[in-house]
């Protein structure tokens, strides 16, 4: 007689925002094998970037790879093309781009925290965090004109400038958010029922993080010191108060806690950016056609986003390679699921903050 049972999760499930299907091979309650099907949202963006759209339009197309980290997608693509054009943005453009990326990181991390809370059965906390998240959404809407798909970055600059009213609004909302995040840190650390659901559950060990090339918050929660913000020199992150944040235990609690501490760090960075904004134009001419090959790495909320762009002096590019964070994290995710209880699977899955639209492109 067969000793194991197969339990599917997905592709449509209340705990999933996006379609992904897991097939868990379970022995009693323990998961011993995992099979993941991630191709539900494959649309074919990579081909369209080289066949249907000119290089000036592609920045807005790749933003539609993923709604949560749209800004990092358009930023990475724009940086790659600017490298090929031999254009270096001035400091004001760099600071404004960093501001939007950090705001995006705050709202994405808060969505993940809310979702993890919901999947652990804590509906009230989900509502509370989603309510607080609107502070950031308001700021993003005021700066860029859109709540989700900003289309803020274009080749040669950014599309809108900060006004004094906006700066006042950013300070006000970030100030309110800081006190709320402090309260959340206390809650996540001390709440008894959350600790039952989170502490010691879904552990990724440091050796596994190295072996399976974990990245982003998943790796940093296991103690692997990797952050593209510290590993590239495209943006002056050290000047605005960036600190690498590390946890060591690698469980759901560590991942949540790491995200909370990164939010605090990102709030500090946003305030520093707004306070020390250099003067300059927000839109400059970047002339020519992309020729050659460039790689760009940007730290998206979920980890490292990698773009490889190759052009041959034409309006159409030869290749746009998009390597998204969740795509690389799937081997490590599968490793974490093995040995966990089936009942914890939704909470573990939410704590990875998976983004299937990114993965399947």
């Amino acid at each position: 007689m067969k000793k194991t049972i197969q339990i599917p999760l997905g592709s449509q499930h209340i705990s999933l925002l996006e379609p992904i299907r897991f097939k868990f091979e379970c022995e009693n309650e323990k998961i011993i094998g995992v099979d993941a099907d991630v191709g539900f949202v494959h649309r074919g963006v990579e081909l369209a970037c080289t066949r249907s759209f000119e290089f000036k339009q592609v920045g807005y197309v790749v933003a539609r790879v993923c709604g949560l980290c749209a800004i990092t997608h358009s930023l990475s693509y724009t940086l790659a093309v600017e490298k090929l054009l031999g254009y270096v943005a001035n400091d004001r453009i760099k600071y404004l781009r960093m501001l939007m990326v950090e705001l995006d990181r705050i709202h994405s991390h808060m969505l993940c925290l809310a979702h993890t809370a919901e999947n652990a059965g804590f509906e009230a906390l989900f509502m509370q965090i989603m309510g607080d998240r609107e502070l950031i959404m308001d700021v993003q809407e005021a700066i860029s004109g859109n709540r989700v798909q900003f289309d803020y970055i274009s080749i040669g600059g950014v599309n809108r400038d900060l006004t004094p009213e906006l700066v006042a609004m950013i300070h006000k909302n970030l100030g309110v958010l800081t006190s709320k995040i402090d309260a959340l840190i206390g809650l996540f650390d001390n709440n008894w029922s959350l600790s039952l659901k989170y502490k010691g559950v879904g552990v990724l060990r440091l050796e596994d993080a190295y072996t399976y090339n974990a990245l982003g918050p998943l790796a940093r929660a296991a103690g692997l010191a990797t952050d593209v913000r510290a590993e590239t020199s495209d943006f002056p992150y050290e000047d605005i108060g960036y600190k690498m944040i590390l946890e060591s235990s690698g469980d759901i609690h560590a991942r949540n806690f790491l995200r909370l501490r990164e939010i605090v760090n990102s709030i500090t960075m946003c305030q520093n950016i707004v306070n020390n904004l250099p003067v300059g134009e927000i839109q400059e001419k970047a002339k020519g056609k992309p020729n050659g090959e460039a790689v760009v790495r940007v730290e998206a909320p979920r980890g490292e986003l990698f773009y490889l762009v190759r052009g041959s002096g034409q309006n159409m590019l030869d290749r746009v390679r998009i390597k998204t964070p969740t795509f690389s994290a799937i081997p490590a995710m599968i490793e974490v699921f093995k040995g966990a209880e089936y009942a914890d699977a939704p909470a573990i899955l939410a704590s990875f903050d998976p983004c299937m639209s990114c993965t399947a492109k």
Binding site: G39, G44, N213, V295, L308
Partner: protein
Amino acid sequence: MRKIETTLTTLLRDIGAFYEAKKWHFLSVNGIDLGEGKIELQWIFSQYGVKDEVVIYYALSDYETPVPSIVTLIPSAFMGEREIVDMFGLSVDGAESGLYLDKDSLAHPLRGES
């Protein structure tokens, strides 16, 4: 960005000598269609804690030659290998097709003139 040329026959030896799990982060496998049935395959690495250090091993090949799998060296490479199997119609040992594409999807969409 450093680019190092290799060939499909010496790939496993080259990457085996190069890759250390605690030093290098394996990014992805990538393919670029060069036209006329040729393809450039890339294996991309970045170094932990060092600024702007990206190493790309590349090999020129065609669509008929099977590509060796590096899963024995880097266990997380299976996702990237399944992706190039789907997108370029290559054959990689141990990697099955069907990560993204369905029965009636366009076959190997990123191959030139497909």
